[in-house]
Symmetry: C2
Subunit: 194 residues, 2 copies
DNA sequence: AAATAAAGTGAGCGCTCACTCACATATTAA
DNA sequence: TTAATATGTGAGTGAGCGCTCACTTTATTT
């Protein structure tokens, strides 16, 4: 699994932005080259096919997720603090790069190709497993209520996170995501600590 | 706003199934006519354009939502019972018609066209307003906790519902949605009643 | 400075797309 | 029964798609 060159990252970022702006159906090589400011053919010096660009987007998302989870493990924090960190890091990332917010929870984009759809699902499951593990830890340390399973709490937390981001996007970023994200965290805190 | 003819409903349902199976990019007039068993041209006797078929899908979703909310108003139930009814009705609907589950929460399908994307957002907001109203009622009757706003509780409930359905779809319907839906309701019940 | 490699260019290829239209067939009205 | 209307058919149209390739330009190595 090699890393991307600078040009490749440019192309991937432009692709994410294009999808965010116009939807997957407008992610064409022509539009992509226009966005980057090169001829169409140039793209094929860096990617074998359009498919590989989509693969690249998912690879980037997977890296982000791995980094976020890895980052937490090194720190000395309580389970609740870890969850708060994860959430606020997410909201910050999306605020700084709204295009990612528009693509990362849109599984439909990759539904065209079976192998991509599967990758999307795997990333989602792994990401939630990370949160579930933190919650399980919090439960065994009696910081998080135990009358609701870690799986269910994860579903509630992740679901709300996703929906909030989706609303932010569909409303054309009409509210401050980080502010609303903090509100959400306060609610989650009340709920998980009972 | 006229109702659809039988042929039009056939076409809309086939379109939903196609999107569910192969993604929006495979919703082509050729594939659609193959699915229905007619020639391509026949479709244009019932819809002016492919765009109008997408509009039709959204119209159907809006009708479903309106009916579900209207249905509840007539019944004599507590707020908590109403929410449970809403959720279980949803899960039943999706179990019986998985294709709808695959499309209804995939907002990016309609992202291609600004007017459609807006419609999608409106339906979402209205749907949540319905739940929020029920929760507000439950709060004023002291059946639902008041230390978390109705808006936030709606976000948590709706988010979890959506995510559960999405997981069910991405896992290729690998678990029983209604069973998991009941589990979710039990968790939600514990949370909202404190 | 010359040679080699890497990156960019854009016309053009085969293909699929949404959609049209002249015609055929089925349904309803007179 | 005939006329009128609605519906179905499928080859055809121009446009746009992903992608290729002969060629040019830029960067790197000798």
């Amino acid at each position: 699994m090699k890393d991307f060159s600078e040009k490749q990252r440019n192309i991937i970022n432009a692709a994410i932005e294009l999808i965010a702006e116009k939807g997957i159906q407008q992610l064409t090589i022509k539009n992509l080259s226009k966005k980057i400011g090169t001829a169409e053919g140039a793209i094929y010096r860096h990617f074998d096919s359009k498919f590989e660009i989509l693969v690249g987007i998912l690879k980037l998302f997977r890296q982000n997720k791995d980094e976020a989870l890895q980052n937490l493990k090194t720190k000395e924090k309580s389970s609740l603090q870890k969850i708060e960190s994860l959430l606020s890091a997410r909201f910050r990332q999306f605020s700084e790069n709204p295009a990612i917010a528009s693509v990362i929870f849109s599984e439909e984009i990759f539904q065209n190709e079976k192998s991509l759809a599967n990758e999307v699902y795997e990333i989602m499951v792994e990401s939630q497993k990370g949160i579930e593990t933190i919650i399980l830890n919090g439960q065994s340390q009696k910081q998080i209520r135990e009358d609701i399973s870690a799986e269910q709490l994860t579903l509630l937390i992740t679901g709300a996170l996703r929906l909030l981001v989706t609303q932010w996007r569909l409303s054309e970023f009409s509210f401050d995501l980080q502010t609303e994200g903090q509100k959400l965290w306060k609610s989650i805190y009340k709920i998980v600590t009972k």
